[in-house]
């Protein structure tokens, strides 16, 4: 199913952020991928081809970019996508054990989703919170840090019960109308439209 067919205004908005040239169109690749993934949880093959056609490139190029970043998924993800940091500090602090626990507890491996559609798991490289190892990132919401077996179990139970995820640290990710927000929609910094040129 094509994603952007009925979203022409949104598409025009994304392309308007880049120069109206052949190269400029290609720059829209990442936001387009993000758009599809936010909606579908992953980017299916047909949408890869769709995006390639939109930016005037090939599916190979799109896949190359997608596979470079661990944040883009070609397989479906659960409502809560648990990304386990497996780089040095976390590995020393027990991320392998944490991973095994998640595999046992959820009964899934990498690239799979639990039957209830709630969870998927992935090993990722350093998420930049080495001081609080081991840690995981849950979807795009935030970090759970200094994880112990009990803490992980409690969190999984809460999420299964339908509770909202409460991160230890919130990931600053979204920009809307030039204003960066964190995952709890709190403002971070100023808005670019409010910026003024420096006066000398």
């Amino acid at each position: 199913m094509l994603y952007f067919t009925d979203k022409q205004t949104q598409l025009a908005d994304i392309f308007s952020r880049y120069p109206h040239t052949e190269q400029g169109r290609r720059s829209a690749l990442m936001p387009l991928l993000r758009e599809v993934q936010n909606a579908l949880g992953h980017v299916p093959e047909e949408n890869i081809a769709e995006i390639a056609a939109l930016i005037g490139s090939t599916a190979t190029e799109v896949k190359s970019v997608m596979s470079f970043y661990s944040t883009y998924h070609t397989t479906p993800t659960g409502k809560w996508h648990l990304q386990v940091c497996a780089t040095l500090s976390c590995a020393i602090a027990g991320s392998d054990e944490l991973w095994d626990y998640l595999v046992d507890e959820l009964g899934i491996g990498a690239g799979e989703v639990t039957p209830d559609g709630l969870f998927s798991i992935q090993k990722v490289e350093c998420l930049g919170s080495c001081g609080t190892a081991p840690m995981i990132q849950v979807s795009d919401v935030g970090f759970s840090e200094c994880i112990t077996r009990r803490k992980m179990r409690t969190q999984l139970e809460q999420l299964r019960a339908g509770a909202n995820y409460l991160p230890d640290t919130v990931v600053p990710v979204f920009i809307q109308d030039g204003q960066q927000l964190n995952a709890l929609e709190q403002k971070i910094g100023g808005k670019y439209s409010e910026l003024e040129p420096l006066k000398f």
């Binding site: 040239t21 052949e22 190269q23 890869i48 090939t58 190979t60 896949k63």
Partner: protein
């Protein structure tokens, strides 16, 4: 600009990279990622050197060393990748010191960490850059004691190219090649870090030029699947010759083993193909091997219904003598494919004159050829406006499409030094913006070039030409571009060229109006050369379509008219449709086995050399003419390459026996050969055969359906 490399001060042009400065000084550094004709990126880090340069003080003068009074050299703190380092005035480069060797050996150790030790079973073994460089620059040992990366070893990227992911050292040559040379991004890195591998999401590498990545791969990761496991590199007999599959005339190396053609690789010719080949020319050679006939054959019982029986040449000649004795020599037709060498063409021309026959022809051939001097391929790549009319360039002259891509990139060519083409020309960046407004394509069927042009439409080339000449208002932008252009070029393809003199005249008028150059894509590989010989029929009945003769020699043409009832001698490599109707079959050598000269579409004479292929009793056209002469008790004027070349020495004042490796543009003006009955003036069109050999193009992407239809169907 003076640069000092290991104590040798040399003069190099501005813009030279440090790696070229080292090679210009006669020294060597190892490299994997750099490739002439591709942008340098410094991916492999093998070409490390120590470098430093003098610096100017605030007063604008060079800072001097207090002790020596000489300009002080400010060294880079660490070894630098010389392929991405621009040499500068007074730069000092150290490429042979112990510390440089250590740095290079260290990089080699890294490169070899994940490289499998399967050289004994690897097709690249013996011709592998990594193998050579590891021997020359490596430690010969590894300190890495953990598990190596394991990946897919037999991964078919396409029918013709197979990838061994374990062997890949991530030099990125193939990925850059696809983006920069054919402009088709069908291959890229997937994943990152030590998990990186190359892959394509497109089914079967949809490119007409995918085979080139097997040539430039510095390791055995990308291999030619057609010649895979057919021989080791040291067993092949390498022959440097020219591809005659189309009229571009790419330089190739033909590799034969035990008398059999096994592999074709690209060879450098800066003027023609750089180092690239099309997939048809590279992989299409297997047609020759299958069911080839290498002895003369005659019919059992002497009738056409009889089965073929192998014969000796003497028996065949005796049979021909018996049959031709009853026929007037004026009534003998001589017909050949238009891929014969210039020497064979001359022999044919002279022999037809000796027989006094009007029935001589070569096919495929357009009824008329342009007498304007065509642009060279380098001029195409440096043109500032190109108008393509009625051509499917990817089918008719594939490598020309690469020169058009180069034109879209701005026509930047790598510098040339005494040691060869620049290994790393820093003026060549990655991902160049294509200046698509410089290319306009009109042809009735959409082809690959349509997607690359700034303006393209599916209208017939001839009607577009007509409207252009009439000054149609719809083409206002094109007129503006043509007028503004300094070096415009018009390319005519089969669709227009097969329409005859009147349309060609229109094209000539158009290019003269805008001071442009006209490139008519020849119908067959040597059409350009043969058009200057008297090799066309002099009456309707003597044409290849009519063939109203008592006896005919047909050399490597697939069909003869259905109503032809005379004595038929077929000279071919295989039992074609024409051969099934023949009275005598004479075995032919292929262009890979011939010696001689070939004229490509720009009028460049290129030398063919015979590869070490076992062709049995096969002979070229000159050999057949000799046999015919024998049968008719005639001594042909031209009996071999040497006597033909002596004749060309007289006609053209050029020694074809010692052409430079890059070939030489031939100036035909003022030759007596541009006489009445050359292809330039003939009104009869020969289109019985195709340009490509049957099955020449195996891959589904490269079947020249369109070109085939045009040549077969374009009769007048």
């Amino acid at each position: 600009m003076k640069v000092t490399v290991d104590g040798r001060t040399i003069e190099v042009p501005t813009g030279t990279s440090a790696i070229d400065a080292v090679f210009a000084a006669g020294l060597d550094v190892p490299y994997f990622c750099s490739q002439p004709y591709l942008s340098p990126i410094g991916a492999c880090r093998m070409c490390l050197v120590e470098a430093g340069s003098p610096r100017k003080g605030p007063d604008g003068t060079l800072i001097l060393d207090e002790k020596t009074g000489q300009p002080k050299i400010f060294w880079f703190p660490k070894p630098q990748a010389s392929c991405t380092l621009m040499a500068s005035e007074g730069m000092v480069i150290v490429s042979q010191s112990a510390s440089v060797k250590k740095a290079q050996a260290g990089m080699m150790e890294f490169t070899l960490i994940n490289h499998p030790l399967d050289c004994p079973t690897c097709d690249k073994g013996g011709a592998c850059e990594l193998q050579d460089r590891a021997y020359e620059y490596g430690y010969g040992d590894s300190r890495f004691e953990f598990d190596r990366r394991h990946a897919d070893k037999h991964y078919n990227l396409s029918e013709n190219v197979v990838l061994d992911q374990e062997r890949c050292i991530h030099c990125k040559r193939c990925v850059r090649y696809f983006e920069e040379v054919p402009g088709e991004e069908v291959l890229d890195f997937i994943e990152r870090g030590s998990y990186t591998f190359i892959d394509s999401a497109e089914e079967g590498l949809p490119s007409n030029f995918s085979g080139n990545i097997t040539d430039i791969c510095p390791v055995g990761a990308l291999l030619d699947n057609v010649s895979r496991f057919r021989g080791r590199n040291w067993e092949y007999d390498h022959t440097a010759t020219v591809c005659t599959a189309c009229s571009v005339g790419c330089s190739i190396t033909v590799d034969a083993r035990n008398g059999q053609l096994e592999r074709i690789q690209g060879r450098e010719n800066y003027q023609v193909n750089q180092t690239w080949l099309c997939d048809g020319g590279r992989f299409g050679h297997t047609w020759l091997r299958h069911e080839r006939i290498t002895t003369p054959m005659i019919r059992e019982g002497g009738t056409r219904a009889g089965a073929w029986v192998p014969a000796t040449w003497d028996e065949a000649i005796r049979l021909i003598r018996g049959k031709l004795g009853e026929i007037s020599s004026k009534n003998i037709g001589l017909y050949s494919h238009a891929d014969i060498t210039l020497e064979e063409g001359l022999a044919l021309e002279r022999f037809a004159a000796q027989l006094g026959t009007d029935s001589v022809d070569h096919a495929p051939r357009y009824s008329s050829a342009s007498t304007l001097v065509p642009p060279t391929l380098l001029e195409v790549s440096q043109a500032d406006f190109v108008l393509v009319l009625g051509a499917d360039v990817h089918e008719e002259a594939p490598v020309l499409a690469l020169r058009l891509e180069e034109m879209l990139k701005g026509g930047l060519l790598p510098a040339r030094y005494e040691h060869g083409t620049a290994i790393a020309d820093l003026r060549m960046p990655e991902r160049v913006v294509r200046q698509r407004h410089k290319l306009v394509v009109f042809s009735s069927k959409s082809n690959l070039l349509h997607g690359k042009a700034g303006l393209a439409a599916e209208i017939s080339g001839a009607s577009a030409l007509h409207d252009l000449l009439a000054g149609s208002a719809a083409f206002a932008d094109i007129f503006k571009s043509l007028e503004a252009a300094q070096k415009p070029i018009v390319i005519l393809g089969a669709e227009v060229a097969c329409l005859g003199r009147a349309v060609l005249q229109e094209a000539e008028t158009l290019v003269q109006k805008y001071n442009a150059k006209l490139l008519v894509l020849p119908a067959a590989s040597n059409s350009s050369g043969l058009s200057h010989l008297q090799l066309v029929p002099r009456g309707k009945g003597s044409s290849l379509q009519a063939m109203q003769v008592g006896a005919a020699l047909v050399s490597r043409l697939e069909q003869v008219p259905a109503d032809f009832a005379g004595f038929l001698m077929v000279h071919d490599t295989h039992l074609t449709e024409a051969a099934t109707r023949a009275d005598v079959f004479l075995p032919a050598v292929s262009s890979y086995e011939k010696r001689g000269t070939f004229i490509n579409l720009e009028g460049r004479a290129l030398t063919l050399r015979g590869a070490a292929i076992d062709a049995g009793e096969s002979v070229d056209l000159m050999g057949v003419i000799g046999a015919l002469g024998d049968a008719l008790n005639l001594k042909p004027e031209i009996r071999g390459v040497r006597s033909a070349q002596r004749e060309f020495q007289k006609r053209l004042n050029i020694d074809l026996s010692s052409l430079p490796d890059e070939g030489q543009i031939i100036n035909w003006s003022g030759t007596s050969s541009a006489a009445t009955f050359s292809a330039a003036t003939s009104s009869v069109h020969s289109s019985v055969t195709t340009m490509w050999k049957p099955n020449m193009l195996r891959g589904k992407n490269v079947v020249p359906q369109q070109a085939r239809e045009l040549f077969v169907g374009g009769d007048d």
